[in-house]
Structure formats: structure tokens, C-alpha cells
Symmetry: C2
Subunit: 144 residues, 2 copies
Amino acid sequence: MNLMKIAHVPPVVVEVSASVADAVNAMVSNKVGAVAVVENDVLRGIISERDVVKKVVHAGRAASQTRVADVMTTEVESIVEDTPPSEALQIMIDGYFRHLPIVDGKGKVLGILSIRNFLQNRVEELEDSINSITSYYAADGAGG
Amino acid sequence: MNLMKIAHVPPVVVEVSASVADAVNAMVSNKVGAVAVVENDVLRGIISERDVVKKVVHAGRAASQTRVADVMTTEVESIVEDTPPSEALQIMIDGYFRHLPIVDGKGKVLGILSIRNFLQNRVEELEDSINSITSYYAADGAGG
């Protein structure tokens, strides 16, 4: 499995100076549940539908008057392109993260993994493994 | 796999007469991404974080002045308790649904499945299968 193949590439990003309304526009037009927040191309945070619902709508703030910098999650875990997929999945499961940015050595965002796509891909991969294991042993049994 | 065991039970519900602000309160306090909308206990729709972001925030509406009935998804697929899990998962994958209500014969909501929990459970189940298949054949090879 190649992480970049199941990630959203190119990533949907907004500048750290953007408003929540800008981030919501980016989410809606790209049909994604979270966007990376960057400053000079470098990852500074992530803002998700959940952040908007909880920290803006629930808090009674106006999206156009609120800066993403004020509601984004700043303690963002990220991975690099060659992080082992099993490690990336474990980070998402343990942290209960729905999204995980993939960055390069300079912190530039290359893509964003969503746990939904990741898990769906993993289910298909495991089903394929089971099929090949069982057909291998079936062939072995028939032939030997 | 028992669907009710991986579903959110009891389900988080709001009345069809509720405002979006009420639905958002229910989402935030229960830490769920969607709530079922009911009328006399019967499923009428579902409203998700995505609906709030897209149809309320992005549309420039005020959550307290908007009724869930006006922004909920009304064409909701649902399943019953004994729907085969593989069928339930396929419905969610094909329809790209993140949430799927489980109802009884009268349309009363019993629980809400989230695709994330479902897929995570399926990954664990498939990994267990692979382990038992390989250890079965390993034992067979060693003994026979």
C-alpha cells in the first residue's frame, strides 16, 4: 500500500490568515471533511467539520468573523511519505484522528489521509490476502 | 459480528421540530458526527456535521433560526437489527454514507452505525481470520 495513493492529493489547504468561512468554502467545494492550515507552505494546523460545528456553530461565533487560526487544531500529528502504513493507521486509531497530513522534510503538506479511505483500503487488502491464502492452500491440497 | 454491538446505542436523536442549534448541542455533548431526526419515535431523517457545515454555515444561515427539518437528509437508508453486516457495510460504501440508522419494524431508531467503527471492527475481524487460517494450516502442516 502506498500512502500517497490513498491520501487526498493535492491536499486542500487554507492560509493561517483565512477565516473559518474560507475554510468552509474549501471543504464544501472539495467535498472534504478537513483542510490543512499552512503558513508559507508549512503545516500549522488542521481544521475539520467537527471543529467548525463545535468551536464555531456551538460556540455561537460567526464563521466570517472567526479566523481559522483561532479554532484550528494546532497539535497536529503528521507523517512522511515513507511512514509504514500500519504505523500511520495506528496513529489515527490511537489518537482518534479522522485526518492525518503527510508532509515532506520541510513540513510542506503533500496530502491528507482520511481514516475512512484508509480503513476501506485495508479491508480490501485483507480480503485479498484471505482469498490468496485460502486458494493457495486449496491448490496445495488438490495438487499434493 | 453483531450490528448492535458496534452501533451507537442508544441512538442520539432530536425531534423534527428541533433547531439546528439543538442538533449541534446533541452532537457536541454526545461526541457524535450525526443525529437521527424523529417524529413520534419514528425515523424521519438524519443530520450530520457535514449538513451543518454545508447547509447552515456555508449557506449563511443561523443555527438557532434554522429547523433541522429544513436541512436534514430525508432520503435515509436504514437497516434492521438482523441485516447481514456485509450488506450493511456495502450500503454504506456504495452510498458513501458515514452513518446508517438501525430501526425496528415500526421505524423506531435502535442505534446508529458509523462507518468508521464498522470498518475498524471489520479490519480486526479480518486480521483475526488471517491469523486463525495461517495457524490452522501451520498446525496441519506440522502435524500431518
